[in-house]
């Protein structure tokens, strides 16, 4: 397997969940980029080609004005899950109502490259994912019982499904 280019969108990637990245680095088969908020994620997705993109559901907006606006709009509209910006990111990329093209890099527009790695249960997000035609997206739940190789395992699972 040639080196996989992976983007992990996760606000705790360099704090609470940093243990998960070590097995990826030691394994040596992936080039891993971390985006800790929606602004960084959108920036990377418009600049670099990725084989695999792993998205967390609850992420902060970051510094980009557009993402700050989206976050504040969600809060103002009294949406209970206003920090589900990971879903908003997927909506921004894959919702039919969004102006096309949504990303500058077509390679990152393939739904099968995406995986969801989150503490939310699948049932909590499935209807929103289905609306984006992503009901079959690869999903893995974060919890205290997961092995410290959980991220690497998930990357390899998505990679295997692409072949």
């Amino acid at each position: 397997m040639s080196n996989l280019k992976v983007l992990w969108i996760e606000d705790n990637a360099d704090t609470d969940l940093y243990h998960l990245t070590s097995p990826v680095y030691i394994d040596g088969r992936c080039n891993l980029d971390l985006a800790v908020n929606a602004s960084e994620a959108f920036h990377y997705l418009n600049r670099r080609h990725y084989d695999i993109i792993i998205v967390d559901i609850r992420i902060p907006p970051g510094q980009n004005a557009e993402w700050k606006r989206r976050y504040q709009d969600m809060t103002k509209n009294q949406k209970t899950n206003s920090n589900r910006l990971g879903l908003e990111l997927l909506r921004c990329i894959f919702d039919e109502k969004e102006p096309k093209p949504t990303l500058k890099i077509d390679h990152n527009l393939r739904r099968e490259r995406y995986g969801v790695f989150t503490v939310e249960q699948r049932e909590e997000i499935i209807s929103e994912l289905s609306n984006l035609n992503m009901g079959n997206i690869k999903y893995r739940r974060k919890n205290a019982m997961m092995p410290h190789t959980a991220l690497l395992d998930f990357i390899l699972e998505i990679a295997a499904s692409l072949n």
């Binding site: 940093y18 030691i26 504040q72 920090n83």
Partner: protein, 493 residues
């Protein structure tokens, strides 16, 4: 005969208003005859039309005669006190045999001599509402219990980690300002020194390679690759996430060393290599544990405050208390002391002006919001200048009528829009910049603070202004944030 227009309007009102209205007459024989009711009343008892129940004894609508007597004697008692019956919950038995709960508002009717002749009333079926309220109460209590045991778990984990830190730490690893806490910067520098030491030793290994008959090629190649991965980091790049990588790589290296140890490499070199690896592992564990303790302390305050907030929702309204505000603030500062030390933040106090000041209020609520406000100030503080320590200011003064508390910190900004649109007070809202340096939170603190201050008829004012050096309103640069709480000394309750 044409009915007057007013009568027609009244009739329409009586029949369309979505509550049951009725009139009962008490006959000389003692029966409580229903003489009038509207459509809503008939339906609430499971009948299709008022005609079906007019003339019946209203006592039979109650679940039992005892319950009717309790209701009726309460109504008479209120009448004697010159009051009407409001919000009284009665259990009735409807036509289908179901027990329903209705909220009754009633008044006795009397003749000129003061004899009770009947009653009029309005009622509303509140069965579903009361059930939902009860479920919510139970749910809230359960959440409170879960949060309580969660807090205990966090405290237990923290104390366990403290004990492990004590066994791993030497005096040379301690912070100069607190010998119980590991000095992260110093430890990371030591880790880097040890990594360089490993690299040096490995060079010596490789010098022996040519003279060896059975060279452990695969294990050596693995060591080479793993060491290169470690040495790609420079000391200034070693962040907490790299600590995890260094630890995992060290564990891998230890496994490779077992293979290499069986070869003809000099035993002294092997021993030295192993010693350095063990030291690296000890130091990595120390840093990780210190960080984990920091995260627990951070989360424990959040969870504890959330627990307090949830449980106040299910408690009866407490009596107003006489609160020693100075003592309260000193208690809050003491409780936040360890967290402040860990975060390297000094607490500068000026509370002498409220010594011996007692205010009327709700002590538990005030403690909870003050803990939250001080916690926030510590959490979002940056060092103001060079190597100086970060600090927050907590000061208080009093006027004739009010106590004024001011908490100031210097660091993470609250944006103008968040302040103007009052977003920061919305439940669950976390400030745009609040995740700076990965600070966790519940988005509850300021919502709760505003509620409690209002409950005390006080005022909460929050400002966030750019520091002197930050002239362009750059939100990535430091802001001075001030929280001012004004509480009346006496409550007119």
């Amino acid at each position: 005969m044409t009915l007057p227009e007013n009568f027609s309007i009244y009739n329409k009102l009586v029949n369309e208003v979505p509550i049951g209205l009725y009139k009962v007459r008490i006959s000389p024989s003692g029966s409580h005859e229903l003489v009038h009711c509207n459509q809503q009343f008939a339906e609430s008892l499971g009948f299709a039309h008022p005609k079906e129940i007019i003339g019946k004894d209203a006592r039979d609508f109650h679940q039992s005669r005892e319950k009717f007597e309790a209701f009726y004697s309460h109504l008479i008692r209120l009448e004697e006190e010159g009051k009407n019956m409001n919000d009284y919950i009665v259990e009735i038995l409807n036509h289908k045999g179901e027990v329903r709960k209705v909220e009754v508002h009633a008044k006795l009717l009397q003749d000129d001599e003061g004899n009770i002749t009947g009653r009029v009333g309005a009622e509303k079926d509140v069965t579903d509402y009361l059930e939902t309220k009860q479920q919510l109460h139970e749910l809230t209590t359960d959440i409170g219990k879960v949060l309580h045991s969660y807090t205990s778990t966090l405290i237990n984990s923290k104390h366990t980690m403290d004990a492990i830190v004590r066994t791993l730490m030497t005096a040379a690893d301690a912070r100069p300002d607190n010998k119980n806490l590991p000095d992260e910067t110093k430890i990371i520098a030591k880790i880097y020194q040890n990594l360089k030491g490993l690299q040096g030793l490995w060079t010596k290994f490789l010098e022996k390679k040519e003279t060896m008959e059975a060279y452990p090629g695969e294990a050596a190649a693995n060591v080479d690759r793993l060491l290169k991965l470690l040495m790609s980091m420079r000391t200034e790049d070693i962040q907490i996430q790299q600590i995890s990588l260094i630890r995992d790589v060290s564990v891998n290296l230890r496994q490779q060393l077992k293979i290499i140890g069986k070869s003809a490499f000099p035993k002294e070199l092997i021993k030295d290599f192993r010693r350095k690896l063990e030291n690296i592992l000890r130091l990595c564990n120390l840093v990780s544990l210190a960080r984990a303790i920091d995260a627990i302390l951070e989360m424990e305050t959040n969870v504890n405050n959330l627990r307090g907030y949830v449980l106040t929702r299910v408690q009866e309204k407490p009596e107003i208390q006489r609160v020693d505000l100075y003592d309260l603030m000193i208690g809050v500062v003491k409780e936040m002391g360890e967290y402040a030390t860990l975060r390297g933040v000094d607490l500068r106090l000026n509370l002498k002006n409220i010594r011996n000041l007692y205010i009327e209020g709700y002590e538990k609520d005030l403690i909870r919001i003050m803990l939250n406000l001080v916690h926030n100030a510590i959490k979002y503080s940056w060092v103001r200048k060079g190597n100086a320590r970060a600090y927050i200011i907590i000061e208080a003064k009093q006027t004739f009528t009010h106590a004024l508390i001011r908490i100031e910190n210097w660091g993470v900004a609250i944006t103008k829009e968040e302040l103007e649109n009052k977003l920061i007070y919305k439940i669950g809202y976390r400030g745009i910049h609040s995740s700076d340096r990965r600070r966790p939170g519940t988005g509850l603190g300021l919502h709760d603070a505003l509620k409690v201050v209002r409950k005390h008829k006080g005022k909460l004012q929050i400002t966030s202004t750019p520091s002197m050096s930050n002239r362009n309103m750059d939100y990535t640069q430091p802001f001075k944030t001030e929280v001012k709480v004004s509480l009346p000394i006496k409550q007119d309750i």
